[in-house]
């Protein structure tokens, strides 16, 4: 390598070479010794002696400063060579593409099957519920889910208006007897939409458990990137595959059990993405599946909702504690709710007892989502 050889030759007394630092150190020592020993010879009166003293003092200062500069430069490497120091290096380089092929990022929703949502006794209700598989480009996760699109949803219709989204985090999506079952909750949403109590929304059901161990929807250090999936992949997937809103004010999280914990955690961590969280009344004093990050006390602390609410600023969130059971009041969530300071708001509601236990929750979400007129104005 011709260039390399040249540089090596130049480096024999290069700016960053040990030889230069050693030479300067020797110079400083010799000058110091000479000055101290020859002090008396320069102590005479007259301009000549004063000039000699000035010269001696300045020479010493200059050599010491040079040594300091060279040492500082060696440790921090501001200037790599003499030409660099005096600004003689010129000329740019060329921008080269290393990886020139652009492919689709891999965010995708595969629809496996589709069924209509019908609500007996409510003829206007409708929409459909798809069994889907979601591919998250950033997390690399592929997760089974259900996607509810409301009655009248058509891609790009509605004057470009985008729909609010409720991400339902539950392991019960396939369980028709659970209030969080996809069919039941989609039915409830459909009925509330038909009744004008909820604006048309998109529901996405995803499991709280993305891997064998439940990591509470967080990024498992060096492992499953749960938070990346929920907070980055899901919004992107729904914004590209269906007409999901791009505004945090229109994104809600709703979960049961560990999914409830997920909802609160994700909303607190990513208030630029989500602004509404619904979780069961529970105490939330420790994360589910805490074993995942047990190795690091700091990570465990960070993942604790109580700690987070006490130590980080309050987020612009609306939080609802809902059920289980029909009783109202905060119950065991009292401790957590007490830590919520504005702009975070906390409320509670009991579940309904009829066919749609989560109807009161949907009504509350409907009241919390910004009105469509307000959104249109804000967009303009």
């Amino acid at each position: 390598m011709h260039v390399r050889d040249e540089a090596n030759r130049a480096d024999q007394m290069g700016l960053t070479s040990p030889a230069l630092a050693v030479t300067l150190a020797v110079t400083v020592t010799v000058l110091l010794a000479v000055i101290l020993l020859g002090w008396r010879r320069l102590a005479g009166r007259g301009v000549r002696y004063i000039a000699l003293r000035i010269t001696a003092a300045c020479a010493l200062q200059a050599s010491v400063l040079s040594l300091v500069f060279v040492l500082v430069n060696n440790s921090l490497l501001f200037y790599s060579s003499w030409s660099d120091l005096v600004g003689a290096d010129t000329g740019g380089g060329t921008v080269l593409a290393v990886q020139g092929v652009s492919v689709d990022a891999g965010n995708r929703v595969d629809v496996l099957s589709r069924s209509a949502v019908t609500v007996p006794g409510v003829p206007q209700a409708g929409g459909h519920l798809d069994r889907v598989r979601i591919h998250g480009a950033l997390s690399g996760l592929t997760v089974p889910g259900r996607l509810f699109l409301p009655a009248g949803y058509r891609r790009g219709a509605n004057g470009g208006q985008r729909y609010p989204v409720i991400v339902v985090i539950t392991n019960q999506a396939a369980n028709d007897s659970s209030p969080y079952g996809a069919r039941r909750l989609a039915g409830a949403a459909s009925a509330q939409i038909a009744a004008g109590r909820l604006q048309p929304v998109i529901l996405l059901f995803v499991p709280a458990r993305l891997s064998r161990s439940d990591q509470g929807c967080l990024n498992q250090p060096g492992g499953i990137q749960g938070e990346t999936f929920f907070a980055q992949d899901i919004p992107r997937v729904l914004q590209t595959a269906v007409d999901a809103s791009t505004s945090a004010s229109q994104w809600a999280l709703l979960g049961d059990r560990s999914g409830g914990y997920c909802s609160l955690q994700l909303a607190l961590d990513d208030s630029t993405v989500f602004s509404i969280a619904v979780a069961p009344r529970a105490s939330y004093t420790r994360p589910p599946g805490a074993g995942v990050v047990a190795s690091s006390p700091q990570l465990r602390q960070q993942d604790n909702l109580m700690w987070q609410l006490q130590h980080l600023p309050p987020q612009p969130l609306s939080v609802l504690f809902a059920g289980p059971g029909t009783a109202s009041g905060l119950g065991p969530a009292r401790g957590l709710a007490a830590l919520a300071r504005p702009p975070m708001r906390a409320a509670s509601v009991g579940l309904g007892s009829g066919r749609w236990p989560l109807a009161p929750v949907l009504d509350w979400i409907g009241a919390t989502l910004p009105a469509r007129a307000a959104l249109a104005a804000a967009a303009g």
Binding site: D89, A137, G222, P342, G380
Partner: protein, 441 residues
Amino acid sequence: MGLDSGLFEIIMVVAAAASLAVVVWLWPKAAGQHAAHLAARLGLIAGSQLLVIVTFLICLNGYFGFYGSWAQLLGGTSPSTVAAAAARPGAAGGPSDGQVRSLVVNMTEPGPVPGGQVLPAEAPRYAAAGPGLHRRRVTVHGQPQYGPVAGSGVPGLSGLSKRVSTSPAVVGRLLMVSMTGQQTGITARGAYVYLPPQYFQRAYAHARFPAVLALTGYPGASWSIVKRLGLPSEAARLVAAGRMPPAIYVMMNVSVVMPRDTECTNVPAGPQVESFFAQDVPRAIEQSFRVQRLGSAWGLIGYSTGGYCAAKLAMLNPYQFHSAVSLAGYYVALRDNTTGNLYGGSLGYRHENDLDWRLAHLPAPPISLLVTSSKIGEKTYPGTMAFLRLVHSPMQGYSLILAQGGHNFGSWQRELPQSLTWLGRRLRPAVPNQAQVLLHS
């Protein structure tokens, strides 16, 4: 007295010169044979030497802008993790959506004139400035190349200083701002926002502009990006030459909790610096300026530690930051005396902050990244080449390698025009005369 204030530097230089004079003056008095005389000689030399070295280091610090204040150098007033004092409800001037306005403009200056000097030449540096709005007259050499020159002297008198318009529609505006993160509670003072002239022109009155976040190295000061790197002036020059679209530049110190070097990491149970840059800063800027909305592909550029941060922030938040330039950055997760324990003692979490590890173990993010280094003179060169070999689709890697150049502003200035042109091609340009209704996306 501020560590970086000009007055302090002058006082130190005077003191150092005086100490030399004292040595020369007292020289004969220490010329005896006694041990006391020898001690006096040593004392004179050492005292003077110390003053000169300290002065030199202070001037060096002033030039490179490592530490902006005594507090930054020594610690003490660095904000605790628990900076919950941040977003208070009902703060004055809060926007109607209930969110708290988290950006305060401390000062306004005319922007740099394309083709002119880096202006404003004498703008006060970071910590020295108090609140309030100041305007200064600006004098430049040479002919401005862009925009109408209103109120200027006789054109064509090259070589003579003359006044040019400082109207925002001609030179843009350079604002010094403070930002408080709603998500993290971190407060960054002395950040700079450059608004291009177009921002103030009628044709762009309703246009939203692309944004670029620029980060210093560690330790550093945001003012260095304006003055030493000359980012706003280079951008203004390239825009005037039609080589890149006008954009808003947000220029920040990479270390928001000085003197700690956080490497833009969400430190477990500590400062959430990644979230601050990836969520809080875009949100604060979006609330305050006509910038393209959250998640709309901002650009990133940074040098040294700021280069690592630019690459990391884009790789971790590819929908917020679509393209990034890492000038002489590195790509591994550092741990040293200035960082402390950034990863909560978790190897897995440290891996997640190691960009080499991420490319080898996680899906590549859909971003474009330009990395720069020098074949000779840069310690970062081997690491940069190793990182580039790991880049794969959908991530797109680009390199800009100088034949020779050190880890300093001189090299980065040489890389800047091409880097900005590259970045400019990846920004969504602001559209003039845009009807409001088209803005909705």
